[in-house]
């Protein structure tokens, strides 16, 4: 069984004060079990000021996580905040690993995970996953490499995010250090109760006219209906400026035609050739359309998904796409409020995400790992 306890601090400059606040809130002496893991979500400046390192050093267990632009724990919801969610258990244990992502990332991932998996008789039930936000290696590519190494063990987590326009300070967190190009994984070993849930876009708000992806290279959308990606997207009414903004607020809906639900991909950039850099794989042969989400949709879908999950047993981990945060406009904490309200006294983690990692059941009911955009992904652990 996994129990959880959470803490938060806004002390971004005073490491001592931050550590005191966190450790006091966590009540480590009475709350910790035999094995523990810390999940960090924080404003990126916490890494620069040394508060992140101080907090992690003060905790007697490994810490994994990622920077974000908004997160919440307990009653605290804010942008400039650091939250710690501790998972602790007598019958489950946790193994962490940080893998540098470079040119030969597949080899690195494979060898690191092979070594980790060799340490246990049984494979982990889950990998909590924290992907760096990189232009050269997309989340889909990392996910595929991990799947290949682990044989498809469920992955849940987020890609790093920050508050800047170009996400230049988005980093993963591993034991107090923050990294631009390090994949951080925490294996949850044992037999915990796990369930996965997704608040996605309302399918009734997808554009009914669909197109066919005719050329792509991983997450680079090259051709649609035989035209370049830009030609097609302009044809349906989008502008180059919007697509090139990098905000990723245009949700492209991709149906893989394999029995799984459609996944949403954000457009992060345009290449000079008119190709779109998307938030995940854009396989040739999949159909493509455009979706829409507004404030009401974000709040309704999150509320519908989280309400049945929140109870005193276990912890709800929630990572919500930054695009959902953006459409909330001035009321950008409203989604987190919904989760806090649903959680009540129960522990929870909420953070905005640069890309959501969560499995979906395929047509045969088997869990298949996916990298999502525009979703709020939930993992209930107990």
């Amino acid at each position: 069984m996994i129990r959880s306890v959470t803490a938060a601090t806004r002390e971004i400059d005073d490491a001592e004060a931050a550590v005191a606040e966190i450790t006091a809130a966590l009540g480590l002496e009475k709350n910790l079990r035999k094995n523990s893991l810390g999940i960090i979500s924080c404003f990126s400046d916490f890494a620069d000021t040394g508060v992140l390192k101080a907090v992690c050093d003060a905790l007697p267990f490994d810490c994994v996580g990622a920077t974000t632009c908004l997160c919440a724990a307990r009653a605290e919801i804010d942008q400039i905040i650091l939250t710690v969610t501790v998972l602790t258990s007598d019958d489950c244990d946790f193994k962490t690993i940080g893998i540098p992502i470079g040119d030969k990332y597949e080899d690195s991932v494979n060898s690191a995970l092979t070594a980790l998996l060799a340490q246990n008789e049984k494979p982990p039930a889950l990998f909590l996953s924290y992907f760096p936000l990189m232009n050269t290696v997309s989340g889909d590519m990392m996910l595929t490499a991990i799947d290949k190494a682990t044989g498809g063990i469920p992955l849940f987590g987020t890609a790093a995010l920050d508050h800047t326009m170009d996400y230049s300070t988005a980093k993963t967190v591993y034991n107090g250090e923050a990294f631009r190009e390090k994949l951080v994984l925490a294996a949850v070993c044992g037999a915990p109760h796990i369930s996965f849930h997704i608040a996605a876009l309302d399918e009734s708000k997808f554009r009914s006219q669909k197109a066919l992806i005719t050329a792509s290279a991983g997450n680079i959308l090259i051709g649609v209906n035989g035209k370049t990606a830009l030609e097609y997207l302009e044809e349906i009414g989008l502008t180059k400026a919007e697509l090139a903004s990098g905000l990723g607020v245009i949700p492209l809906v991709v149906d893989h035609k394999d029995g799984t639900k459609p996944v949403v991909r954000a457009v992060f950039a345009l290449t000079p050739d008119g190709h779109a850099v998307c938030g995940g794989a854009m396989p040739v042969g999949a159909t493509l359309t455009i979706g829409h989400v507004d404030r009401g949709d974000v709040l309704q879908t999150t509320e519908n998904t989280v309400k049945p999950l929140a109870d005193k047993e276990g912890v709800v981990l929630s990572y919500s796409c930054m695009a959902r945060y953006l459409v909330l406009g001035a009321d950008n904490t409203a989604e987190a409020e919904k989760i806090r309200a649903a959680a009540g006294e129960a522990p929870y983690l909420f953070a905005c995400s640069g890309g959501e990692i969560c499995p979906l059941p395929d047509a045969d009911g088997r869990l298949k790992n996916f990298y999502h955009n525009y979703t709020n992904v939930f993992c209930k652990l107990s």
Partner: protein
């Protein structure tokens, strides 16, 4: 310093710097938030616009689909009021535009369109669908707008509900399945007809086969010749019938395969009708029926067309008329020129009988293949049921049509028209050899139609014609007017006064010719008596103008042109001194040919294959006056054998007449024979007359 300037609570420099850093951080964050919010809002607007456009396009598509749907589609709101009706509904209901019924309750609208009972039934179904919250489907015959032509609809009523299960409306779909049902029924009928036809064909084939097989056994076992001859007669009759059935089936197959072709030759229309009349006369007289023919004098002497196929149609119609007319009834053949345009003559032929007649329901099915009027007709009267369908196809190939006028129990008239090109006018005419103005002819017949027609023909020749309806009247006329050059006397009409009448005619003019009008059957019995009375010639009924002309010129002793017909089946042929090579692999076929032509003194050498035929001919090319070549033979077929013979370096090889004997009579098969170097063909089964004609054409006589 505090709010009132107290220096003891002033923040330290460190605290101020921390404050400043915090504010800078918050400012940067706010600026970033604001920029992103602005861009996000613009992107949101853009996507909303795109989705709205997409929705509009969807609506356009759906509108297009609905407007062009052949189904009747209605959308009602939760109250049962119209919110949409497809164009098909508006057209069927004769509603000018949807605005006239928009918002109206469906019952109010339907009350004006369908019967009250239908509406009540329909409303009950709607209520059921709404109550069950599930689709209800059923079939119903409805007459929208009381047009008197109800259609069958498959109706689907589907209630529409929201997420909470509350009714939001009803969709009703009417699918007109009348045509599909009719097509299904027609297909079933056709299937049944084909099954009945197959059963009928089986019977039609097996019955004569049974007779052939049975009579063969009986004949073999019979000791006396009379019994054997009786059996052979029955076998011949059954074989002929069987051949007719097979020919019908083959013709129908050709028609259905689009392979029926016309062979165009120049022919005499009247002579063709006469040949047909000769064929059917036997049955007419068996049933003691009266058969008359009327040929329009305006009809050209010759036409270009397929005389055999036309004869097939006339034979079929005459055969039916005779078959379906009881004993003592009458059958009339009337052929006339119905017009001429673009170089084509329209000919109208009508065959009328006083038979059982045909009801309107039966008439509707008559010309369809595999149908007779009804199956009980088949059982009573026999027949394949293909004759009229074949006749229709032939007539239509000649740019004509065929139809029936009949009343059940009152007899029938089958009429067909065809269009044919005129043939060359005969340069010589028998009439040229006679000065008709001086000829006075008497016709005696109890049938006024016959008398009038006869008089028309005679007067058409330019002669004078007197008519008498009885022997007594004729005697009176002879006494009053003196003698006649020729008298045509109906044997039955003259009755007991025959001898007296003939005697009076001879007395009036000793050289007068007396011609007896009679059926061929009756002439066999009456010829001796008639000749004793001084009437040695007979004109067989129904008579044709050319037949009358021949008799007149013969009687008056005028020069005759050579007969158009070659010698008849009855005339004995003599081919003494001639020898033919018969190439035929089937022994029984060789036996038939040898037996058939033994009386003609024709020498026949047999080759059992194409190889043997080439060998025998090349060894003695001058021996053979003609070659009859079967086509399908083992080792070397008849076509190859012909090519080899023609290629021989022998003068006779190029000139010897080679006639194909083949069951394949499609045009392309005949053309293959001619291309191989053959001179002509005769069909199988062998027709004695055709072979005789070929022999007479090519042999030294």
């Amino acid at each position: 310093m505090d709010e009132i300037g107290n220096q003891d609570t002033a923040p330290s420099a460190q605290e101020l710097q921390k404050e400043i850093r915090g504010l800078k951080r918050k400012l940067a964050l706010s600026e970033a938030n604001l920029a992103r919010a602005r861009q996000t809002a613009l992107a949101q607007d853009r996507v909303e616009t795109i989705l709205n456009d997409s929705l509009k396009k969807d609506l356009q598509f759906f509108k297009l689909v609905l407007e062009n749907a052949t189904h009747i589609l209605l959308l009602l709101d939760f109250d049962g009021r119209f919110s949409y009706a497809s164009a098909r509904f508006l057209a069927d209901a004769a509603i000018a535009n949807f605005g006239l019924i928009d918002g109206h309750h469906y019952k109010d609208v339907f009350r004006r369109l369908i019967a009250e009972g239908d509406l009540n039934k329909f409303a009950a179904m709607v209520d059921s669908a709404v109550a069950r919250k599930s689709t209800v489907s059923f079939e119903e015959q409805l007459d929208f707008n009381f047009q008197g032509s109800p259609r069958i609809f498959s109706i689907l009523i589907t209630p529409m509900t929201d997420e909470d299960g509350k009714s939001t409306g009803i969709m009703i779909l009417f699918n007109d399945i009348t045509d599909i049902n009719n097509a299904l029924e027609a297909a079933n009928l056709a299937n049944r007809a084909k099954s009945e036809f197959l059963a009928n064909m089986s019977h039609e084939i097996r019955t004569p086969m049974n007779a052939i097989v049975g009579m063969t056994s009986i004949g073999k076992a019979a000791a006396d010749l009379e019994r054997k001859n009786y059996c052979f007669a029955k076998i011949e009759e059954a074989s002929s019938h069987l051949l007719g059935v097979i020919n019908d089936i083959l013709d129908m197959s050709k028609i259905e395969a689009g392979k029926l072709e016309l062979s165009l030759v120049e022919f005499s229309f009247e002579k063709m009708l006469q040949r047909v009349a000769n064929v059917v006369n036997f049955r007419v007289h068996e049933k003691k029926q009266v058969f008359t023919a009327h040929i329009d004098s305006a009809l050209p002497k010759t036409f270009i067309g397929d005389d055999q196929r036309i004869a097939q149609v006339v034979t079929n119609l005459l055969g039916n008329a005779i078959k379906f007319t009881p004993e003592g009834g009458s059958v009339t053949l009337d052929a006339r020129l119905a017009g001429e345009s673009n170089g084509l003559c329209a000919i109208r032929v009508k065959i009328t009988d006083t038979g059982i007649g045909i009801s309107p329901e039966q008439q509707a099915r008559l010309f369809q293949s595999f149908q007779q009027a009804e199956s009980s007709t088949t059982r009573k009267f026999g027949g394949t049921g293909l004759g009229l369908a074949i006749s229709k196809s032939i007539v239509e190939m000649m740019d004509g049509k065929i139809w029936v006028e009949s009343e059940f129990g009152q007899g029938s008239s089958f009429i067909f028209t065809i269009r044919l090109k005129r043939g060359a006018e005969k340069t010589a005419d028998l009439r040229d050899s006679v000065d008709w103005r001086d000829i006075h002819i008497l016709a005696v017949d109890g049938n006024p139609d016959v008398l009038l027609y006869f008089a028309e023909i005679i007067r058409g020749f330019g002669a004078r014609c007197a008519i008498a309806a009885s022997a007594g009247a004729a005697l009176g006329m002879i006494e009053r007017d003196g003698g006649y050059h020729i008298a045509f006397v109906d044997w039955d009409t003259a009755g007991g006064e025959r001898a007296r009448l003939i005697s009076a005619l001879k007395a009036g003019r000793p050289a007068a010719g007396v011609v007896i009008m009679i059926s061929p059957n009756e002439w066999d019995a009456a010829a001796a008596e008639a000749k004793k009375m001084g009437a040695g010639k007979a004109l067989f009924k129904p008579f044709f103008p050319s037949g009358i002309l021949d008799i007149i010129t013969e009687t008056l002793g005028a020069a005759q042109q050579p007969a158009e017909e070659t010698q008849t089946d009855d005339a004995p042929a003599d081919f003494t001194g001639n020898r033919i090579l018969l190439a035929e692999d089937m022994e029984v076929n060789r036996e038939i040919m040898l037996a058939l032509f033994e009386p003609t003194n024709l020498g026949i050498d047999c080759a059992v294959s194409g190889v043997a035929a080439v060998s025998m001919f090349s060894r003695a090319p001058e021996k053979y006056d003609m070659i009859f070549m079967d086509i399908q033979m083992p080792e070397m077929d008849g076509l190859e054998a012909t090519r080899r013979i023609r290629a021989l370096d022998l003068p006779r090889a190029k000139t010897v007449p080679i006639i194909a004997m083949t069951a394949n009579v499609f045009r392309e098969d005949v053309e293959k024979c001619l291309e191989a170097g053959m001179n002509g063909h005769v069909g199988k089964p062998i027709n004695y007359s055709d072979v005789i004609s070929s022999l007479q054409k090519y042999l030294k006589l």
